[in-house]
Amino acid sequence: MSDRTPATHYLNVSYGIRSWLFTRDHKRIALLYLASVTLMFLVGGSFAAMVRLELLTPAGDLFQADTYNKIFTLHGIVMVFFFLIPGIPAVLGNFLVPMMIGAKDLAFPRLNLLSWYLFNLGALFTLFNIVIGGVDTGWTFYTPYSTTWTTTNIVPVALGIFVTGFSSILTGLNFIVTIHKMRAPGLTWFRLPLFIWAHYATSVIIMLGTPVLAITIVLLALERVFHLGFFDPALGGDPVLFQHFFWFYSHPAVYIMILPAMGVISEIVTCFSRKRIYGYPFVAASSLAIALLGFLVWGHHMFVSSQSVFAGLVFSVLSFLVAIPSAVKVFNWTATLYKGSISFETPMLYVFGFLGLFTIGGLTGLMLACLGIDVHVHDTYFIVAHFHYIMVGGTVMGYLGGLHFWWPKISGRLYPEGWGRLSALIIFVGFNLTFFPQFILGYLGMPRRYHAYPEEFQVLNVMSTAGASILGVGYLIPLVYLVWCMRDGKVASSNPFGATGLEWQTPAPPPTENFPSPPRVTEEAYAYDKIPIPGGGAYAG
């Protein structure tokens, strides 16, 4: 494999805005998604900044209460539906799934492009809603406040999420069909990279869960517009039924957010330990177990909603069970590190961050699965800290680690390793300073979704806001250098990290059709014992 940048590749094969906006190349679509998703991350991050600024002082003195309600609501909606759920699958998944299985593209390239347009349409509805005054219901849209009492504009946001849900379904559909039907000769299911298993399981969740979100939104919108009574007790309806509908999707949604990141971790930890994954079948099976078990626990969001105590007990037990496959993964990644030849390139720093932070997030999740504890800390900052440890400490770390790991393949350039390591460390420090105090705040009783709080909580809140500033800086630095290095970075070889996997057998950047003919696979995944460490590595010194 030549180490020189190929003359023609997917980035320069054609120029002009139309060659991008009408592309069918999954790699270009991945970059289009990168742009959209990054924009939404910045929007969601701005709302986070406003939240943390308000919470610097105990009094609600920066925003009025109603405005603050809109700010945390929009932070949640934008981050969940327009960054975390699409994020890794739409960017890394779109780019890598065909390449990892030796295919020329996804099964349905035009559906893939449609999926991106639908994402943007949904985002547009949401941004429009922000401009005309936002929504203040919390990202959970609980009724009857959202159907009857709020004066904010629910319908545009509901429409935006509905349309983006379709985008998500089309991506999931594409991945499932592609993985089933377009694997290269010799690439049996148990030779697949775990990144593929993770995205397959994620796609199963997307297909089973998102339609229920869709019908929930339809019923919500119908009720609001036509004053029907599905969820309004004044009209005979049941608000708890709304919660069942909402959480049936929104709990599995968190597994949509974490599973792809877990797939990234498997790829990076093996490469930078120069070792096969420990317990491949268990890691693969645990992805499916998480996907399926994750649908049986939604009632743990409703422990204090007047759901039956019996149901609460059952959901509590099931929530304990769903932690097991995640724990299996953490054990197996750790065992992979054991006696590995470990190096600390930027992607690996994100892996270590993930391992620690996801473990904390997961263990606090187990605490919350206990009915008795949850009754005490429900709707406090303990919950907020728990899910940010998983979504930010887990998913965003995985996302950034993956972006760095595959950036040489995506762009044909090497990101600056020094800046990469520095920002990973800044992010780690900033993250913990932001969110660890929130565990304590929640335990002490500070409720979430309030813009004012008792004086004695100020010190911890100031720490949290300081951490958030550091975290923000940490996120902005890669934004700058990843874009910078696309033009001015050092040219990358086709496989600078010496990784296994079909995607590394192509030039960097790859040609449009990825492989001139389907490669033949004869090896298990992660056969690091069979290949030498690259001489000096791309980042030696």
Partner: protein, 246 residues
């Protein structure tokens, strides 16, 4: 990509290795999409179940206000359209000449279904059974009678003399009709989309696009159409036939 003649090799998109892989992938794709539709309509059926379990009397009374004859005729029409759709698929698969004809028949039957649905909706409007401010559910089996205290006449058609109970009944009946319009409306929307897909198939068939080597689009639209039929197969008894023996 080498040029391929229609008669010899079947055509396939560049990302697939051959026509068979394409057909397998497209079929699996349509089934995966139908899986999402099962979950989508499943949400409505779940809401229906919870509320029917909660308010059995209101649901039974409301169901009696639907026209079994029109619903039954529509069921026959829709199943008939599934038959014609299956025959269209068969014609495409064997290269017969009936493809366009069977597709048009399917569209005709589908349109007839929607026409009857429109008539039913119109009846509901006339009977004041559209949920909203003007909703009023009457129980025709109740003649005018004295209230339990014996000092006032309860008008004919009112189910209960107790205003609290009567108000609840009206609310619960509105939930039935909200579900009725949501479920049949969503179903009708899917039929309209289906008609659009069928029209596209008719145009393609007239241009000779389909042959034994390439009939996949007809097959997968057929799958979609049959699914929409199956949804109605469940809607009919659940909406129209509650406690009809009473």
């Amino acid at each position: 990509m080498p040029a391929e003649s229609h008669a010899a090799a079947a055509i396939h998109a560049h990302q697939f290795e051959d026509a068979e892989q394409q057909r397998d992938a497209v079929t699996l794709g349509m089934w995966a999409f139908l899986l999402t539709e099962v979950l989508f309509f499943g949400g409505l059926f779940t809401a229906y179940t919870i509320y029917r379990w909660s308010f059995p009397a209101a649901f039974a009374l409301s169901s009696h206000h639907l026209d079994v004859l029109l619903g039954g005729v529509n069921t026959v029409i829709l199943i008939g359209s599934s038959l014609t759709m299956a025959l269209a698929v068969h014609a495409a698969q064997v290269g017969g000449r009936g493809v366009v004809g069977y597709l048009l028949l399917t569209m005709l039957l589908g349109s007839a279904f929607l026409g009857i649905k429109a008539v039913e909706y119109d009846h509901k409007f006339a009977e004041r059974l559209i949920p909203g401010a003007s909703f009023l559910m009457r129980d025709e089996s109740r003649p005018a009678h004295l209230d339990p205290a014996g000092d006032a006449v309860v008008a004919a058609g009112i189910a209960s003399a107790d205003p609290g109970v009567e108000a609840d009944l009206q609310h619960h009946a509105q939930i039935f009709f909200s579900l009725y319009f949501a479920m049949t409306g969503m179903h009708a929307l899917h039929m309209v989309v289906g008609l659009g897909l069928l029209a596209w198939l008719v145009l393609a068939a007239r241009r000779g696009r389909f042959s034994p080597a390439y009939s996949t689009p007809v097959e997968i639209v057929g799958l979609y159409w049959h699914f929409v039929d199956i949804v109605w197969i469940f809607l009919f008894p659940l909406l129209y036939l509650i406690d009809r023996h009473a």
